[in-house]
């Protein structure tokens, strides 16, 4: 395939065309990239220590973002309940509701949200 016929002023292939083609071909014909290139590409695209990959991640849908927020809220709530364990005021309320009852309330929803995320 050649595009020569598309250039009126280049006409048919002449000696100069052949010379350019020959010189370029000989310059790169036997050139091969080293295997290190692929190795470097893999290194650069592998996940970083923080877990972030170089590749842009697909945008998360709104329900995924909501689920993530809900998980954060639930975790905070759970932490708050455990904190109350050492709180004197909470100790007074123990007779009416014990800490593991709070945990039982929170755990199923937290597990479900973790699966969704």
């Amino acid at each position: 395939m050649s595009g020569h016929e598309l250039i009126p002023d280049v006409r048919r292939e002449d000696e100069l065309d052949r010379l350019i083609r020959w010189a370029l071909y000989n310059m790169v014909a036997h050139a091969r990239p080293s295997p290190a290139v692929w190795h470097n590409i893999r290194l650069q695209l592998s996940p970083s220590p923080s877990g972030a990959v170089v590749r842009k991640r697909q945008a998360r849908s709104s329900w995924q973002r909501s689920a993530h927020g809900l998980l954060t809220w639930t975790t905070s709530a759970l932490a708050y309940v455990f904190d109350q364990e050492w709180d004197e005021r909470f100790a007074k309320q123990r007779n009416s509701r014990r800490w593991y009852e709070y945990l039982a309330l929170v755990m199923p929803s937290m597990a479900a949200i973790t699966v969704i995320c």
Binding site: M1, I20, V28, I41, Q44, L45, R55, K56
Partner: protein, 201 residues
Amino acid sequence: MELSWVTAKSIEEDRLLIARTRRGDYIAFESLYAKYKGQVYRTALAIVRDQGAAEDILQDCFIKVYTNIDRIDSSLPLVPWLYRVTVNLSYNWVTRRKRWLTPLEAVIDRLNMAPRISPEQALEENELQRVVQEAIYSLNFEQRVVLILFYLTNFSIREIAYILDVPEGTVKSRLHYGREKLRQRLLSDQRLTPGVAYEWS
């Protein structure tokens, strides 16, 4: 844009590899790399004439493929996109290098300047090849790229225009003036015998 040398089978193969890469299949990405690494590397090498830089360009080109995989239109051939990225990366390398290294390179070139050799020696293939390659490398970036895409990769004027995103007339003009500059430079090169120069004068 139809590319005469890109078969429907190849486009379909690329489409599947791109789809698999999008799903995180690294083997598919490696297959894409294996398929096109030679073309990208040799084109970059012809433009920048530096093996290390050509490898860097190849590396950056495929990192771009991976990071932009979601935006690549897999219904179109991948090849023009790859060549466009290769040319752009080569341009960045050449302009960076020119900014920092031109004075040093000029000194080295003067120090390495070969002494005049006899007409018999000038006929040797290696010398002729070197002279032509130097002449090609002396062209400005735009003319050199068009010559390389035209003569080395055998793209048509229309295909080069598509890859470089310029009008066909611009490609024709760069090719024409690039050839003319080469002809003049080769004719005036003292290392070539009049007989050899006459053949393309």
